[in-house]
Structures are given as structure tokens and as C-alpha cells.
């Protein structure tokens, strides 16, 4: 089984230096890319089926295609790696950042070349200290080796790159809020359209891609679109970093073909539930995805299949809910997080999330009323997709709406017993 993303990552908490990366073929992909037309690179990426691994699952090649090229096109252009991994339960980009930063940098340079960008940034989660060290050093090495700056790898292409360490807002993971933050403004999302490919950083064409997405790019260039497409078990292309957290025997992160079933991930790789715990439910792709239950275990973890059963692949990092943990408490904890991370721009998110979190808190404290469940249900409609300015609140409603669907009895017990049954 091929593991293009993680095959070279050492398990000793050190990262691949430039030399080590070059020794395993690193930056050869870039050299190859620089010999191609930018448009050809975009086509390869598009044909490979690579989709955004940050959660939205939008075709990467299609995104790059939106940038207009040529002498008359607006300049400068920007290319940004979104390394602001703050989705609850997600830690997949961290592995790539800490373990193989050059792979990411090479991906950025190839992407930047494809859209003819002059500047690139790595927008890093503030709490990722080891990753900050790794990226800082790797960027230095790349400059020294001529992979950044003028005449990259002997070509006419030039690109600057710098690391931006975020001050820590979940909102910055949203690509347009990220742009505002990078410009030194409040991390509020922007109106779309226009999309960043047309008007992004400082109003110029900009591409923002997730770390895992970009880490796939070098290998796709060398091995081709078909190779990538064939890596997956289903028709969506590539491998995926799947993770599992919660009361499983072996929590962790595994690179597996896209479309690997939940059962395989949880039972084979995560080793199943810990002794004495039963699987009650799971969030398949981080804190802002809908709960699935044991009945869904045979669903392949890819974009389309998970969507079909009412959730989202998201970041592909599974949060496991066991039978000895209160689902109301778990959802309450998530909603508190989302309420705190709301930027405060649009009404439903700013006002709806704190209200939701307060009700869940009150239920957990045994002060709930049956009307509260109606209000919670109402909130999931009120903050539905399209009703809010960006996807934060609709995402926040996903675990809640599915918890109300699957665990309604547990919510009601909180009300009838005037306490949390798990406490």
C-alpha cells in the first residue's frame, strides 16, 4: 500500500532535513514541474481528482484554474498554505508540518508556479510550536538551496515565502478570514463572490490550500494523475490521513487509501474500543461534522459516501463517543468552543451559538426544560447553511442536529432526571 504523504516521515519527532528530503527524491518534482506550462500543472492536479483536505472537499485543480494568467492579469499573485489546523479533534496537518515540511514547501512552490504567484505564506496555527521551528528552518534551507527566491532551481520563476504564525482563532482557518488576518485586519470572513482566486490577499488573486492537500502535489506531478486516482478505493483519488481520538485502544493517525471504511479505521488501525467501552457514535471529520452511529461503520470514508449518510468527511479525523461519556456534555463542550470562536460578524452565529451553548450547559447541570429541546432544534434551522455569513455556525450545528436525532433520549433524561445521567 502506497503512502505518498507519510512514507518518509520518521517516527522520532524529527523532521526531514533538506538533504534527507532530497535523498528520497525531494524537489525533483519541482524541477519536473518547472519544465511544464503552469496550465499543464493545473490540469494534472485537476485530473488527479485531488480535493481540498481541509474539510470543504473542493477540487484543487478547479480552484487553481480560476486564477487568470498572462501579462494582462492582475499582479502580484499570492499562494497560501492554510496550516491553521484548529478543527476540534484534528491533528493531521501537524504530522505533515512537523515531519516533512519540505514536502509542503515543494507543494507550495509548484502551486505558486501553477498560478504564477510571486509571494507565498504558510499561515500556521499559533500553538504549533514545533511546526513553527520546522517550517522556519525548512524555508531557510529552501532559500539557501535556491528553491525559493530568484531563479528557482535554475528557472526564471521566482517566489518569496514567509511563515505567518497565527494568534489563534478558529476563524482563521476559513480562507477569507485567514486573508483578513494576514492583512492585519479582524479575522472576519469575506463576502464571496468574489472568491480569493479573483480577489484575495490585498485584493489580488490568491490561492489558499490546506497543508495535506499541498503535500500531495509533488508526488502527483511526478507520478501522474492516474497514479493518484488509483491510490484510492473509491473514485475520488489519493490517500487520506485518517485519525481517531477518544476511547479506542490505539488512538492515532494513519495514511490509508481514500474510501477506507470506518470499520477498518476504527477496528484494524485504532484497535477497536477500549475494554469496557462501547461505541455510541462518532464524528467522522472533526468537531463540525454530524454524528454517525455504529450502524454506519461500513461506510467508506470518502467525500460522497459520508455525505450520503448525512455527515461530512471533513478533516477525516474521527472523534469517538463511547457509552460512558455524556453526548450532551460532549456537544455542549463543542458548542462552547464554537460560540467562543465566532467572529461576531453575523447575527445567527454571534447570538445563536452562545444561546445554544448556554442551553446545553443548563441541560448538563440538570436545569433543562423540554422547551429547550425545541429551541435547540430551532437553532439548527436558524443556523443552517446559507443562513449565516460563513460556514462556522452551520458546521457547529452539525454535531448538535445529529445528536438530537440519534441521542434524543439522552437529552430528555437530563431533563427528567434533573441531572446528567453520566455524573
Amino acid at each position: 500500500m502506497e503512502k505518498p504523504l507519510t512514507q518518509h516521515i520518521k517516527n522520532d519527532h524529527t523532521w526531514l532535513s533538506l538533504k534527507e528530503y532530497e535523498a528520497v527524491g525531494g524537489y525533483q518534482h519541482l524541477r519536473k514541474a518547472l519544465k511544464l506550462n503552469p496550465q499543464d500543472i493545473t490540469k494534472i492536479i485537476k485530473d488527479s481528482g485531488l480535493k481540498g483536505r481541509g474539510g470543504a472537499g473542493f477540487s484543487t485543480g478547479t480552484k487553481w484554474e480560476l486564477v487568470s494568467l498572462g501579462d494582462q492579469s492582475p499582479k502580484p499573485k499570492y499562494f497560501i498554505a492554510n496550516a491553521d489546523e484548529m478543527e476540534p479533534g484534528s491533528f493531521k496537518d501537524r504530522l505533515l508540518l512537523e515531519g516533512n515540511p519540505h514536502q509542503l514547501i515543494e507543494g507550495i512552490i509548484i502551486g505558486a508556479y501553477a498560478i504564477q504567484a510571486q509571494f507565498s505564506f504558510v499561515f500556521l496555527r499559533g500553538a504549533y510550536h514545533p511546526a513553527a521551528k520546522a517550517i522556519t528552518r525548512a524555508i531557510e534551507e529552501s532559500y539557501q538551496a535556491g528553491y525559493l527566491g530568484e531563479h528557482i532551481a535554475g528557472s526564471d520563476f521566482k517566489l518569496e515565502m514567509s511563515l505567518h504564525i497565527s494568534q489563534g482563532r478558529y476563524m482563521c482557518g476559513e480562507e477569507t478570514a485567514l486573508l483578513n488576518a494576514l492583512e492585519g485586519k479582524r479575522a472576519n470572513p469575506r463576502a464571496k463572490p468574489p472568491y480569493p482566486a479573483l480577489s484575495g490577499l490585498f485584493g489580488k488573486p490568491t490561492i489558499v490550500n490546506n497543508v495535506e492537500t499541498l503535500s500531495n502535489v509533488p508526488q502527483i506531478i511526478s507520478n501522474g494523475a492516474d497514479w493518484f486516482m488509483n491510490l484510492s478505493k473509491t473514485g475520488e483519488g489519493g490517500t487520506k490521513l485518517y485519525g481517531a481520538s477518544g476511547r479506542v485502544k490505539n488512538p492515532g493517525l494513519w495514511e490509508l487509501p481514500l474510501g477506507t471504511s470506518l470499520r477498518e479505521i476504527l477496528e484494524e488501525h485504532a484497535g477497536g474500543m477500549q475494554e469496557g467501552y462501547q461505541l455510541k457514535g462518532l464524528l467522522p471529520g472533526g468537531g463540525s461534522t454530524d454524528f454517525l452511529t455504529p450502524e454506519h461503520l461500513d461506510v467508506p470514508m470518502d467525500y460522497a459516501s459520508i455525505m450520503k449518510v448525512g455527515s461530512r468527511l471533513g478533516t477525516g479525523t474521527i472523534i469517538v463517543l463511547d457509552d460512558k461519556t455524556c453526548p450532551v456534555g460532549m456537544v455542549g463542550n463543542l458548542e462552547k468552543f464554537f460560540a467562543q470562536e465566532s467572529c461576531g460578524w453575523c447575527t445567527p452565529c454571534r447570538e445563536g451559538l452562545p444561546w445554544t451553548a448556554k442551553i446545553l450547559d443548563s441541560l448538563e447541570a440538570g436545569n433543562g426544560k423540554m422547551e429547550d429541546l425545541d429551541i435547540l432544534k430551532f437553532q439548527t434551522h436558524y443556523m443552517a447553511p446559507g443562513h449565516t455569513f460563513c460556514a462556522l455556525a452551520p458546521g457547529a450545528m452539525e454535531p448538535l442536529q445529529s445528536a438530537l436525532q440519534y441521542f434524543r433520549e439522552d437529552f430528555e433524561r437530563h431533563i427528567h432526571e434533573h441531572k446528567c445521567p453520566w455524573k
Binding site: R169, M171, E183, R186, R190, A191, P193, P194, L198, S199, F202, G203, A339, Q340, E341, S342, C343, G344, W345, C346, T347, P348, R350, E351, G352, L353, P354, W355, K358, S362, E371, I375, F378, Y382, A384, G386, H387, T388, F389
Partner: protein
Amino acid sequence: MPLEIIMAKVYIDNKLYEVDGSKNMLENCLSLGLNLPYFCWHPVLRSVGACRQCAILKYKDDKDTKGKLIMACLEPVADNMRISIEAPEAHLFRASNIEALMVNHPHDCPVCDEGGECHLQDMTLMTGHNYRRYRFKKRTHNNQYLGPFINHEMNRCIQCYRCVRFYKDYAGGKDLDVFSSHDDVYFGRHEQGVLENEFSGNLVEVCPTGVFTDKTLKKHFTRKWDLTDAPSICHQCALGCNIIAGERYGSIRRILTRFNGDVNGYFLCDRGRFGYEYVNSDQRIQKPLRNQQGVFSNIITVEAIQEIKEITKSAKKLIGLGSPSASLESNFLLRELVGKDNFYAGVPAREGKLIRLVIEILEKGKVKTLCLGEVKDCDAVFILGEDITNTAPLLALYLRQAAKNKPGEQAKAMHIPVWNDAATKEVVQDATGPFYVASVHTTKLDEIATRTFLAHPDNIARLGYAIARQVDDRLPAVDLDEDGETLAGEIAAAMLSAKKPLIVAGSSLFSETIIQSAANLAFVLKDKGKDVGLVYVIPEVNSMGLSLLSDRYLEEAFEKAGQDSAATVVILENDLFQRMDKTATEVFLKQAEKVIALDYLPNLTTAHANYILPSGTFAEADGTVINNEGRAQRFYQVHVPDNEIRSSWKWLQEILKDNPNSQTKNFDAVTRSLAEAFPKLEAIATIAPSSDFREGTQKIPREPHRYSGRTSMYAKINVSEPQSPYDFDSALSFTMEGYGAQPPAAITPFYWSPGWNSVQAINKFQIEVGGDLHGGNPGKRLFEPLEDSGLDYSKNIPSAFSQNQEEVQVMPLYHIFGSGELSALSPSIKERVPNPYISLNDDDAAKAGISEDTILQFSNNGQIFSLPVKLHMGLPKGVAGVPKGLEGTAGIHFPFSIHLNNHKNG
């Protein structure tokens, strides 16, 4: 860019409408008169999609029954589009959104200043939300002290972001922002303190609820429905912004913007909004006064009129001094009283001649003088000499918008609709220009300028001539240094490549040559086929009107007074000590046989009077004034005071009457005779409906139909309901009875429409939201450009300014708060007035060994002034500045020269 209006057919709740394709769905719905609630959208701040209140359903086609919830303010129009406002899902969402906004909004409407004219109240009712389900604690905030104008009550905030979008993005303010995040977002200053921006008062109207309210209103609070309102014109500068003035119990309570798309649009400056308080001064002259051996005592009105009549009739020599702050009608009747040869414009010649020059350019020039509404559409600006923010504040606000037009083209090229402010801002960012400022010192607009040029007025004029030469090389050359030449070339290129270039100048520096240079440049650009505009700033509300009535000035009057016998002088609403030096003015007044003053407040001039008649300010008078653009506009009396205060023209008419019992002519009759005497002013008779205008049989009430307590207001004095005074002079009534719907725009006293109690009821008075008023914006322009102008100033190039040894030329400096004599008497404004100072060029000061705060003594026309020195204002070498019109600098003749070394006085 000419706005292409593409009409589209749209089905709204299954009814077919034709709508404007260049507008979004919310604007179209509102323009159709449909009630769709909103908060963050504002007609000029446009769409950002924050509040989510204007949700509607959009259907794919006629078979789609489910629809998709969308925000109307972010939805472009498409042909055959189907939407629903009334669908239950849309209704529910909008009500839910209000419920969410109400989660933290206090239930303090009964004690909130906004109550009864609150957009949040209106929108809440509109959505039908009423019962609270939220059962937890509300979040609370601390409020800030924001200075004398604005009261802050953050707990009421519904986070629509309009305040920061207006204050920062639109008005260029730096000290109001949004802090914190999630449901804790806070709108205020980084620390409490005075809001610095000159347009802060607009927060009162921009805020949809009671976060930012009028602090001057709070001092004598009255509900909107208890105000007697009149359509009026701001008297605080020459722009003639349209205002609504509201009265209760005999005092003016507040000023609101009266929308006029051609003039001030939705906004006012803080001097205009808060400078009204002098009207309520307890110093107001309320009854005729007679001076007997230096003691003023009340005198019965009929007696006063009789005595003054006799004095004026028997006077061997009569002199009438008009006023640029009085109406055309008052000035005209003074002219009638004293005879046209004895009537003088009450301003010094150095000012009056400049106004005449401006009139000449407006009247005979070939370039259109733009109204403020057109200024904001210009895409290249060159300012010669004016410190706009301080001499014509609202013009500065609109120049700021003009500066965004060229960069905005970039967003248009990306097919981002103009109404999509959020997206436009992301593309345009902070880009401004082309915008060039030439001035004698650094100005506030420098921050948006492409380049600035600090120079003596003559050199500013020379730059203007050099630019004209760059545009047309047949014109005389100007010898500039290399930097000057480069700048001239750059400005010329910017003006030539603009679609609508704008040249701005004015009379503030008393420089004829700047005014001519600006006209010359505009003419040349016009000759090159450019759609160029010209704006001149002049000093006062009716400077232009006064200059149209007379071309003789105070110096001549003073001179005439000194010849032969002593003169009897009638002074209209004019403190001469503000305009002429103290010595000459005193001599003039003391040698007069009799002095009759008509004024609002005691001042040095009235102190010299034998008789004082209590004149009405804009609040107690009807009148016509002409603004800097040449637009004649009407203002109406707000209330009838319970004292002898009345319009000056009414006093003058009483004096003019032969038979005391004969009926006086009403306002229309005065205006008609004025128009007959001055054919140029013919239009003023038709700028507003006449006094016999009726809607059906009814007058237009100044009071809303919910006006309360009329019978109890004076119950402590008399339990009967006193008869309301009758207004013979206008179609307005002083009561709440009358025509209930929309009157003509020129006589609309307040904005109200069923369900729309806030200022945003203005939507219902416009042809389309944000656009012109029904029946057209009020006011009439007196001058339009001529095809072929006989004017040619191209050869009047001044020689370059050169400093004479240690001599410096002192220019007038202006302060929005302070340079206006009457507004500075308002307590709120007073807090913002600076102390007088003299500003020097840093090098000049260093050379003369003068440092910051050194007290410098100098004389002007025999009067000694001692002022502290202020440095770092960017004044060029050889140029100094002293604020004009402050208490302590009144009567200075600008410009004048001083020797630095002779005047030092540690």
C-alpha cells in the same frame, strides 16, 4: 461611468415587477415600497451581509415550491427571477433573527432616547417577533464618555457594524472601532474620550438603535412625536445643508439631517448638527431694547417701531448694513428701508469682492459648479488652498468618497456590483486618488492625497496656472522649480485621464489669484473636452445671496459715515467687530447719530446700539439663502416664540409700513418683490410651494399626529387649550392637524410613514431608496455654465512669493469648531474650540529663536494680540497662520505681515 440602468422583470410573491438591474434585491424591494427589514445595509454604506435580516426566498423557477433562503441585500437581480418576501420560512427566519438580536438587547425602550424613532423597534414589529424565549443572563458592557456630542450605551448594540463602517470607512475617522469578538463585540474608542471625527454626529442617525444618541438632545430630551419640526437650512457654513429642526416648550431640541440628494444627502457635520444651541441661550434678546445712557431697558414693541420709524424717516443720512448670515428677504427689506444707495453688504471688501468674483465665474463661466451630490461622483480632485474639513466640512466628507472612485473601477472591472461594499472594499482596500491638495498648511484631507503641495497662496495659484499650461501649451508659461513642474505634470495627467475631474478652491485665504487660477484650470480642462466640475467654498450661509444684492462693503460704509453729518445706521444680524478691526468699528459706531441693531444675542455691536430689535435665528424665521453652488433654498420658522422675537424681515416691514394698522405683506409677497427687483433672483419665488399651497384643503402640520399633551403643556398656567398660532407665511401649520401623507419635498417637516418611525422613514419619501425625493430635490440653481465664456484669467499669473527678511505673512486658519461665531456659543461646541495661537514655519521660528508655546505679540490695524506659538503645521517658509474668528482673534484683517524679531515677547 454613466450608470446603465437595465430593467429586469422579477416576480415577487408571484406578482410581476419591473426592477432596476443595477440594484440589489433589497434596494429594489424597498424602492417598490415593500416592507423588508434590514439593519446593516445603508443606502450609501451599501451591502455587507452582516445582520441577515433581509432574508427572502429565492426560487429556481416557477416549478420550485421550496425555494432557498437568501439575503436580499447581497442578491443581484436577474431577469425572470422569482422571490418571496411573504413565504412562511422567510417570515420565520426574519422573526428568529430579531429574536436573536433581542437576546442581549435591553428592554429599556421607555427610558431609551431612541424609543419611538428606533429602527430596531420598527423592524421588530415588522417581523412580528414578540415573546422572549431566551432565559439566561444578558451580556453587559461598560459605556464610554465620547465627548460633548454623543452619548454611548453599548448594551443596546445589535452589532450591525454600521457605526464603524460609517465612521472609519466612510468618514475617515480613526478613533472608533470594533473590539473583541463573538457575542462580546464592542463598538467604541480604544479608551474613552472625545470622538475626534467631524462627522461623529451622524452616528446618531446611522445607528439603528440607541447606542449612539444625541447628547445635546439628552440635556432636554423630547420624544420625536412631541417635537414641532420645520424644514430648515443649516446656517453654519455656505454649503446650505438641509436640516430638520425640532422644538418643544420654546427651545430647539435637536437637528437632524433632512435628506437632499443634491446637497447633503444623508449626513451633516458636527458643527451643523450641534451648533444650534446658541438659539436656546438665556442671553437671547427677547424684547425690543432701548439704550438710555448706556442702560438697555425693555420697550413696548409698538413704541419701538414707532420710534425707529421716526428716526429712520427723519435721518439725514441712512446706512443699512446687511448680513451674509441673514436671509435674502431680510437683507432686501433693509435695502428697501434705507434705499438702495445706502445699503451695504455687511462684509469687508476683501471678502465681498472675492464672492463677486466667484459669482462672476458661476454666472459667466463655462464650467458647472457641482452640487455636493455630484462631487462624490468625481474621480480626480485638485484642491487649491482650502482647508475643506474646516471651511466646508461636508464637502470634505464627499471629497473622501470621490477619492475612492478611481480605485473602485478595479472592482467594477471584476464585475463586482457597486452595491456590494464588502467585496468592493476587499479589492480596493485603502487605495485613494488621484487626489491633490495644495494648501498653506497640512490639512486633514492630506491623508487621502496622492500628493500634497504646501505653499504660499500665490504659489498655489501658480501651480494651478502651471497645470493649465501643461494641459494647453498655448497658455502662458509659469516658471516653477523642477519639483513643481513634475507635480504640475502629474496633476495635469491625472485630470486629463479622469472621467470627471474636480477643481476645488475658495475664498478662505482672501486670495483672488487662487480663485482665478482654479477657474482658469477648469476652463482649460473644459476646452479639452473634459466633464470638469468646479466647487468654490465661500464663508457663510448667505454670502452669495448678500453679494447678489450689493457690491458695496463695510469700508465704504465706514467712510461714508465719516463724511459730513452723522449717519443713522441700521445693522442687520451682524457683529461688525467680527469683520472689521476694533478701532475703526468703534469709531464708526460712536460717530453714528443712532444705531439700530437687529440681532439674536448681545454682542459688541449691539452694545453700541440705541435700539435693539430681537431677530429670529433660523429657528424663528422664514427665509431664502443661496449656497456656494448658487442654489437658492428656503428655510422655515420652527415655532412661534412666546416673546417678541421674529424674522428680521418682519421687523423691517413693520418699520417700512406707512399705516401701522395696515396688513403686513406675507413672506411670499416679500419674496416676489425681491424677485422683481433682482431679475437674477427670479427663481427664488418658485423654489418652494407658496403660503396658499394646500394638500386638498389642508396645510402641512409641523407636528406629528401623535404629538402628545398639547392641552396639558401649559396646564399649570391655563387649563384651556390655547389657539395654535396661524402661519400666514407658509403652507405649514404650527399644529398636528393637517395633511397626513407626504407633502412636497421642500416643505416636508419630518419623515414618518406607517411602520417607519425612525429616520429611515426617508426611504418612503424617495423615488427609489437612496435616490432623489419625490417631486425632485428642493432648491433651485441660479447659475448654469455658458457654452462660450468671455472670462479669461489665463494671464493673471501672480509672481512667486518671496519672503521679505524676517517678515512673515499671516494667513487665516480655520477650525470647524470655533471659526463659526454663533455655533461657538453653543455649549457642546464650546468644549471643542481651541485656544487661539499663532502658527509659524519651523525654520522661521528656529531662526528667530522662537519655540513652541512662546508668546508672540503682534499688532493688526492698531490692535495688539499676544498668542502662543504652535509649530509643525507644515506652513511654508515666510508664512504664518492665526485662527480666524475665535474669541480673541475676531476682527483681524487677513492676510497681514509681521516681523518675527520685533514681536518676540518671552
